[in-house]
Symmetry: C2
Subunit: 408 residues, 2 copies
């Protein structure tokens, strides 16, 4: 079950003026579930996104990048679950383009104004006929207060949907931000992870928006791992409709910083929600590495700890077998790391220093922290002032069970 | 249970003239099991080794490197299981040196002529008193035909011991090679993995021997992964006693090549045995990546596939969810990889080409191969002539079980 994560409440999700969402049951992989989503945006909106760096990136990722680059303005996003349309060659590209064309025809825009997204099983042909057949029902369902249903329609192995809203005030203008995301397995982001859609009613120029989404993803989705596997389909899209009247034209203004902070908060909560709902997760760990020469080496060490199956199974067992954390720090690839300087903490308990177990450490203190469902791992390197944080979950029987039966 | 791996048969392990082995039950972690080993070598022997690159390397690794560098000639190796003496700071160093001193006193040599090795739980103080108390029994037990007991005495979560012998003829001289190894989890070598000891009665000059052990480990222990975790204690030692009369003085001779090939064969069988006995393993996979620009990129891709939890759980389930292999190839970090050129085979079945599923592929063919216990994964990159092979196992419920209960 998700770790300290409540399902979103539909009534708490705020509509974004300029954004409509419509879902349907298109029977893509399984019957009787919402599996197709259209997000329609008003013409003046700007969009920016970050996409997976996986070389086997999915056909919809290639097409979405092409359509963004075409510069005609984006009017709609179409998202299906149940099939990733990845590892599908030329036919996959044709299917992604056909989905866009069908949406464009229904909404009265150009195919290049539609962005396609898919998530699900890899290397199976996309059932494009079922998608096209489902689109009219999505269009008929388009409405502003449909973020909850949208969060449900993009789930795969997720147990709960992920959705967050925030409001801030820029002077006297209220700016609203709402985001949804999906993801539970194949989570180890490289520039972006899985599917995330965040919209705001601020007006934000496209280059400014691109910087905002990159910064937000670097501080959120690019800080999580469930299993070390980088998806073929990752994408995070940020939509700015401008309907609130608040306008952001450059990245140095106070308004930029305030919206940036709120967008990053939404992205971080969504990213953490993905880990809390990580496949088979029973524990949520925040791994903070500080005192490094630069943020990159801190993140490298945090990820080594966060993806180690030995560390993750020890947390599943609530067993303070914490030498495994030292081993992961040691193999993280920092050639000149002086292990005698490192301090390791579990929450506020000093576990190791001077290359070994701390004299003050007592097994019962470690045991107490390991019983918690939310656990902090803090590594102090003692060689600089940089820091980085990664969020991860434990590794349980259920991870194996879920992934040994994913296609069935 | 180990995958297609029989336990070694004591009578098939050939003694090496110049090497004696003695074991005892020293009660280091658990009673009633052999857990302490001395390997005594004759004075004229040469030794060479490769050690873990983990920055949190264990105290015995540091001391063994120091003693090898001292150049006084090595007379004995002392190995304990049940405790890794890693992440143990200054006290760990003192304990490793004390073990060497105690062995030296019993055998009448200098402490610097003894190499220490430990394996087991990390960040627990080494019970050095129990080790020292057990050493006289090890010495009393020293004999040439004790390789089987030695292979048992170094096991941790191993289900079976690993031991192999080979004989080759150099002209009319018979040269014998016998090796043992341990390892089942925390297996993801970086220069060497876990504990391995190989001895031959050839005479091999030390610099030549060093090259031989590096070449052998690169082609064997450095090609395996169980869980992606690089141990703090990895070490592979190669011992040449010279007692057969066969002498190898340079790396260009035919004799070098013959012994090198036999040593590499022994090392490869031991390395594969570690994977076949990988924690929780039910399948053994040989991942061959060919058609690369260089061996390094081929190995990088093979390791990405071999350590992917999603790939490994699919193999556990005998589920041909083979798009996960494409995803792992795609995130392996080869920036200019052209996925349209890649061919993926499962044994002799062509699964994917031109960026998607092969037209000729049928699910029942993939299903048939996935049911096997030994499976070949072949990736043809189509961009050069280099190749690399990695051996790995699947990821099962039992991996989680073993590692959630390791200390208990």
């Amino acid at each position: 079950m998700p770790v300290n994560l409540n399902p979103p409440v539909a009534s708490e999700l705020l509509p974004i003026n300029g954004v409509l969402l419509g879902t349907t049951e298109a029977n893509i992989k399984k019957p009787n579930r919402k599996d197709l989503l259209i997000i329609q945006v008003d013409p003046q909106s700007t969009l920016a996104g970050v996409f997976t760096q996986n070389r086997f990136c999915a056909a919809p990722v290639v097409v979405a990048k092409d359509h963004l680059a075409a510069g005609k303005g984006i009017r709609a996003l179409v998202v299906n679950t149940g099939n990733a349309n990845a590892g599908t060659g030329e036919q996959g590209m044709a299917n992604a383009r056909a989905s866009c064309a069908a949406v464009a025809k229904l909404l009265g825009c150009a195919p290049e104004q539609v962005l396609p997204f898919s998530t699900g099983v890899i290397m199976e042909p996309l059932p494009v006929d079922r998608i096209i057949a489902g689109l009219p029902a999505c269009v008929a369902n388009l409405k502003a207060d449909n973020w909850f249903d949208a969060s449900q329609a993009i789930m795969t192995t997720d147990i709960v949907g992920k959705a967050v809203s925030r409001q801030i005030k820029l002077g006297s203008t209220v700016v609203t931000i709402t985001g949804i995301a999906k993801g539970s397995g194949m989570i180890h982001p490289n520039m972006a992870t899985m599917l995330g859609y965040i919209a705001t009613d601020a007006s934000i120029a496209q280059p400014v928006l691109q910087k905002m989404v990159s910064q937000a993803s670097d501080a959120s989705f690019n800080c999580i791992t469930v299993d070390g596997d980088t998806s073929t389909n990752d994408a995070l899209m940020l939509i700015a409709t401008g309907k609130s009247g608040a306008a952001i034209t450059d990245t140095t203004s106070d308004a930029y910083k305030q919206v940036q902070a709120a967008v990053t908060e939404v992205a971080t909560l969504l990213a953490q929600a993905i880990v809390r709902d990580g496949e088979g997760a029973t524990k949520f760990m925040t791994i903070k590495v500080e005192g490094g020469n630069n943020a990159a080496e801190c993140k490298q060490i945090a990820y080594a700890v966060g993806r180690s199956p030995l560390v993750k199974t020890a947390f599943f067992a609530s067993d303070p077998n914490l030498g495994r954390i030292l081993a992961a720090i040691g193999y993280a690839g920092i050639a000149d790391l002086d292990v005698a300087r490192i301090k390791l903490y579990l929450d506020d308990v000093l576990v190791a220093e001077q290359g070994g177990r701390a004299a003050s450490y007592r097994e019962e203190d470690g045991q107490r922290i390991m019983q918690q469902s939310d656990i902090g791992i803090r590594v102090v390197l003692g060689r600089g002032n940089a820091a980085a944080t990664v969020w991860t979950c434990d590794f349980s029987y259920d991870y194996v069970k879920i992934n040994a039966s994913y296609r069935s």
